[in-house]
Symmetry: C2
């Protein structure tokens, strides 16, 4: 796409970071993948495979791997962040000054408390001199790695930055769409995890297609309502990072959030469900943060309130579902009451 | 909900009409089900079961069944239309004058040519004295019949009419939401069948979750763009009759449209696919109508254009998919370029 090659660095050797790095390397982009674990780094360097997170996937031999974060960042024009939300601030704090003048793209989903901060907010605080974008969408890493046709969204107010990311990352198999609503795209990526728990629960309770579809629709309305209240564009939720990511997360039994929900629906407690899974699902943390914020802001979120009652207020599943169902039947998309929309002139 | 009982008549003894009639009868609403076939009518009257369309489902013994349409309509305050789109105008023509002053609710999906008319438009022409609403949503009849929690939308500019339908039809298991966007709700119900064909095709081609989710998202953007151009509210497509119905139709392998698409994706011709199914899928007709209308109106619909090329212009699947994929990567929800949206003041 461009003659002058952009040097890329990907921070984080989990499934998503490894996939992105491998993909760009295969397209001839100079890429360095940084990860903390010496053993995994040696394995990737020697065998071109990340056996821990992406077993069975061959990585392009041109992919450079390192455990020296500062050197990797120093040599790069564009830095992708694919590190867990729990480590996000400390890593950014460490390299913040180095990022001045560089393109920084966060792929991490999560909300930091206190402050209700998105990952890009943290990046902005720790690396004030960087140009910041976020990447989100219906993107199962393994499907990207196997070359399944995938679409994703890069979002930033800086349109030139979006174009550079499209040039470096986009291909016939990975379509990269641009958006200016960074906050909405990031919020969609974080909130959907809560609704994936609800979908897993519905599946465990044997709910039919009508019910699942209703739940996804009401979830979309609820997350849009909250996001719009917080300043996001409602149109983002009609797009890949909104409804697209919600569908893939709520429909895929592989997601950790869905699995926690499934265990809850089978009658297990939250502790038991998390123990079964062996790790905490991001949606459980997001639920707490979201319940608190929606209470503070006075945004009506019956699904969040109901799930919070089940998980943290010892209320039985049946009672909560009964209460949700006996609510008055009102308007479809009551969300529309919050918006004024008018079609623009035809092209 | 109300002391004065509304008398209901349901025209059409297919799976949806039978289910609605049975449901209301079970709630104590006086209901007469009209159908053409004497044998099926006698069976329902004698055995309380519609063995042809709803085998295994017991109908409430209070449900009255008849083959005398005029008598059934004459005795009713509210008439539900659950007849095939191909018979819609002739039935309405027959009873039009009788419907004056009555509530008429169409559940039939389809578009009549010439004129690009919705079923409610036909009802308005043939029964100008009736009060007209439509009913649509993620509503598999068999799941409603088994009591799966289901949500549906009743839409009419006449809010009192919507309230009466909510009172007669709504229950703890079937949630009836109101909308004023009759046209958008009806258009959503008709257009989704086209995109279900595409989803079936994607499944046959072994496409992954990322791809399926991308297709549903782009389908939603495309159908919304067309509908908004035609005068519908964009908010309807965030609701049950928009994204809700689209999800259930695109995800359910039982839908006829999905099955035609699946056969096409396996490399069969349209004729072979329809022959396998034993009947024409509604989406195939809707596709033709929609292609013509979007060309006339100059609305950009790449998925409709691509599917039309495969089905009616003898273009190979691979070439069409390749063309769709090599389109320039632009903005997410380019649909948003057609709308101006601003949040209203907080409550």
């Amino acid at each position: 796409m461009t003659d002058k090659k952009i040097s890329v660095c990907v921070l984080g050797g989990g499934s998503f970071g490894t996939t992105l790095a491998g993909l760009m390397a295969a397209r001839g982009v100079p890429v360095t993948l940084w990860l903390r674990d010496e053993k995994v780094a040696a394995e990737i360097a020697g065998e071109h495979e990340n056996k821990r997170y992406m077993p069975g996937f061959k990585l392009d031999a041109r992919l450079v791997v390192t455990t020296d974060m500062h050197a990797a960042v120093a040599a790069a024009d564009m830095v992708f962040l694919a590190i867990p939300s729990s480590a996000f601030r400390s890593v950014l704090h460490d390299i913040g000054p180095q990022l001045a003048g560089k393109d920084v793209i966060s792929t991490t989903k999560g909300i930091e408390q206190p402050g209700f901060l998105m990952m890009s907010d943290i990046a902005g605080q720790e690396a004030p001199g960087a140009r910041i974008a976020v990447l989100s969408g219906p993107n199962l890493a393994k499907e990207i790695a196997t070359g399944e046709l995938t679409a994703t969204v890069v979002a930033s107010e800086d349109q030139a930055l979006c174009s550079r990311v499209q040039a470096v990352l986009g291909s016939r198999r990975l379509r990269v769409y641009a958006s200016q609503d960074k906050y909405g795209v990031e919020l969609g990526g974080a909130l959907k995890n809560v609704y994936a728990i609800i979908s897993g629960m519905a599946a465990a309770l044997g709910m039919g297609e009508n019910t699942k579809s209703m739940l996804i629709t009401r979830s979309l309305a609820e997350m849009s309502r909250f996001a719009v209240h917080m300043g996001a564009s409602p149109m983002t939720f009609l797009g890949l990072a909104g409804v697209g990511d919600l569908i893939v997360t709520c429909m895929s039994p592989l997601s950790r959030n869905y699995q926690v929900g499934f265990a809850l629906g089978q009658g297990h407690t939250l502790d038991e469900s998390v123990a079964q899974l062996g790790q905490v699902a991001e949606g459980v943390n997001t639920l707490k943060v979201l319940k608190q914020k929606s209470d503070e802001e006075g945004v009506y979120m019956p699904l969040v309130t109901g799930l919070h009652a089940i998980l943290f207020e010892q209320q039985p599943l049946d009672a909560v579902i009964g209460r949700l169902m006996s609510a008055e039947q009102k308007d479809d998309v009551e969300f529309s009451a919050f918006m004024s929309c008018t079609p623009l002139e035809k092209e």
